[in-house]
């Protein structure tokens, strides 16, 4: 068994930069490179794409990312784990094999993990949704239902020799936990180690968010060379403790402070960070400086998994209609306020049916609400948005903003309008047995 392994994070969201992943693959001394690219809603959108085209429904940047890192990974024996399969891991795996062949890297072993799609098993059931109501209550508005799978099937793929593992919905930390389970031979009931591995996975899963990305606040929290922000890697020991660092010479910084922000990111009860494999406990975690851009992570813990899986449920929720217009210079605020009142009145007069409507002035009250009277802004931008049952109704909102050009206050400019479909995400819990993880093998 290995004594320690080095795992890098090559992406923290679907649109993430590619260069830092190449830097990690070439200079990180890695054994594993993990790409986390699947936000909550992305899989529902991917499901819709797959319904239109059976070969679609995986991450748009899959080919570009694999193309960029595969030569270095193949040369050094670095194995890749990614959830870029989204709603179609099989088609994604075929694409990976195609890219490998194009690079002259034949014989690449690719595993696709399916079984997270539980829509058929869940549809029409009385399973309660966290947001209220039941799955049955969504009727034919249901678009997708994907369970967060755990690390075991990914570890199995790695044990079977997969050089690239492509998944759909899996718990983000599980993609990092799987190589540890595989390399160190951890039992799936070794709660303390699974907990510690989850801490490491959670710190890595958002890539640059732990190396100084989303951290800089000039004068208070400065980050050197943010433009060339490097992505993190962790050297993990067989006990699940780790040293978190980045490639020397890359931009950004790794300090206890950057790690603390990421440790708490999207966490509710830190004593019970619920994962498919373990309930991880972050309360005893220690983050100690260990040299330049290096932090030692110890003290994670864990208790038994709940036996339930979280499921993300996507459903049709109508249409957003939106319009924006700017006012600037002296009197900008008063003209913006007048424009807001005019649009509100016109939408009332045309009898717009919106489930929800919001009229804000960007620069005044669009983000954190009205505060104590601020200094007069030099620019404000009216933003009107509503959610409607039909695209036609949603279009009326942008139309009423557009018409402010000739029918509103003086000197408004820069109108933009849009109409877009709303896919809302809800969540529920299902028994783990509802998901049927399965591996499919391909060779380039």
């Amino acid at each position: 068994m290995a004594r320690s392994i080095r795992i890098g994070a090559g992406a923290g969201f679907s649109g993430d930069r590619i260069d830092p992943a190449v830097e990690l693959a070439e200079h990180g001394g890695l054994h594993y490179l993990v790409f986390e690219c699947l936000a909550e809603r992305t899989i529902a959108l991917a499901q819709l794409a797959r319904q239109r085209d059976p070969d679609a429904g995986y991450d748009k940047l899959l080919a570009a990312r694999i193309q960029a890192v595969l030569p270095a990974c193949r040369r050094q024996g670095i194995r890749i784990v990614t959830n870029m399969g989204a709603a179609n891991p099989l088609a994604a795996a075929r694409k990976v094999a195609e890219v490998a062949r194009g690079l002259g890297l034949g014989g690449l072993k690719v595993a696709a993990l399916t079984g997270d799609d539980v829509a058929d098993a869940l549809r029409g059931t009385q399973t309660p949704l966290d947001e209220g109501g039941t799955v049955a209550g969504l009727g034919n508005r249901l678009v997708s239902a994907n369970a967060y799978l755990g690390a075991a099937p990914i570890a199995e793929a790695l044990a079977g020799g997969a050089e690239v593992v492509v998944t759909g919905r899996v718990a983000d930390p599980a993609m990092f936990l799987a190589p540890m389970i595989r390399e160190f031979g951890w039992s799936m009931e070794d709660w303390p180690r699974l907990g510690r591995g989850t801490v490491v996975g959670h710190l890595l899963e958002c890539a640059g968010q732990v190396t100084g990305g989303y951290f800089a606040d000039p004068g208070l929290k400065d980050v050197p060379d943010l433009a060339r922000l490097g992505f993190p890697l962790a050297e993990v020991t067989e006990d699940g403790d780790a040293l978190l660092t980045k490639v020397p010479g890359s931009g950004g910084r790794v300090t206890p402070a950057t790690c603390k922000e990421q440790l708490l990111y999207e966490v509710h009860d830190p004593a019970r960070y619920l994962q498919p494999d373990v309930a991880a406990d972050f309360t005893g975690v220690r983050l100690d400086p260990a040299g330049e851009d290096a932090v030692r992570i110890t003290g994670g813990a864990g208790t038994a998994r709940t036996g339930m899986l979280k499921v993300s449920v996507g459903c049709h929720e109508g249409w957003f209609g939106e319009g924006q217009i700017s006012y600037a210079g002296p009197g900008a605020l008063a003209r913006g306020e007048l424009a807001r009142a005019v649009v509100r009145e016109r939408l009332r007069l045309i009898g717009l049916e919106a489930e929800d409507l919001r009229l804000n002035l960007i620069g005044l009250d669009a983000i954190i609400g009205p505060g104590a009277a601020p200094a007069e802004p030099r620019e404000v931008r009216l933003r009107v948005i509503g959610r409607c049952a039909s695209a036609a109704a949603a279009e009326r909102i942008g139309h009423e903003v557009d018409s402010l050009y000739l029918n509103g206050p003086a000197s408004g400019g820069g109108v933009t309008t849009s109409v877009r479909e709303v896919i809302g995400m809800r969540s529920c819990l299902v028994p783990a047995a509802m998901a049927r993880p399965a591996l499919h093998w391909l060779e380039a």
């Binding site: 708490l264 972050f282 005893g284 220690r286 896919i423 969540s427």
Partner: protein, 103 residues
């Protein structure tokens, strides 16, 4: 003094719930944060934005408090009409909180 003078913060989202980690720059300031930055104080600061319960979890080992605010994201990230549907900016808004100066 502003909370921003003592601590930094990051916001995350799950459905209609915003969670904000507030971290003391210096370990010696943490007890003061724990004393003054109560869930009630945070709830009052976000009146009009947060419509549900505010829970607080303490992590004294790393000098941090984690706030979980329900009903904070306009009905949920994916259906919210808010410009910042994820409530990412709420972390900076949190740091606007005024703390009484202590001798």
């Amino acid at each position: 003094m502003l909370l921003r003078d003592l601590a930094h913060a990051r916001a995350g989202d799950k459905g209609d719930t915003s969670s904000i980690g507030v971290i003391a720059y210096r370990a010696e300031d943490y007890p003061r944060l724990e004393r003054l930055l109560t869930p009630e104080r945070v709830r009052a600061h976000f009146a009009g934005i947060v419509h549900g319960e505010v829970r607080r979890y303490a992590l004294p080992g790393i000098g941090a408090l984690n706030f979980v605010m329900e009903g904070a994201l306009g009905g949920g990230v994916t259906r919210s009409l808010a410009l910042d549907a994820h409530g990412k900016c709420l972390a900076s808004a949190m740091l606007e909180i005024e703390l009484p100066d202590e001798v």
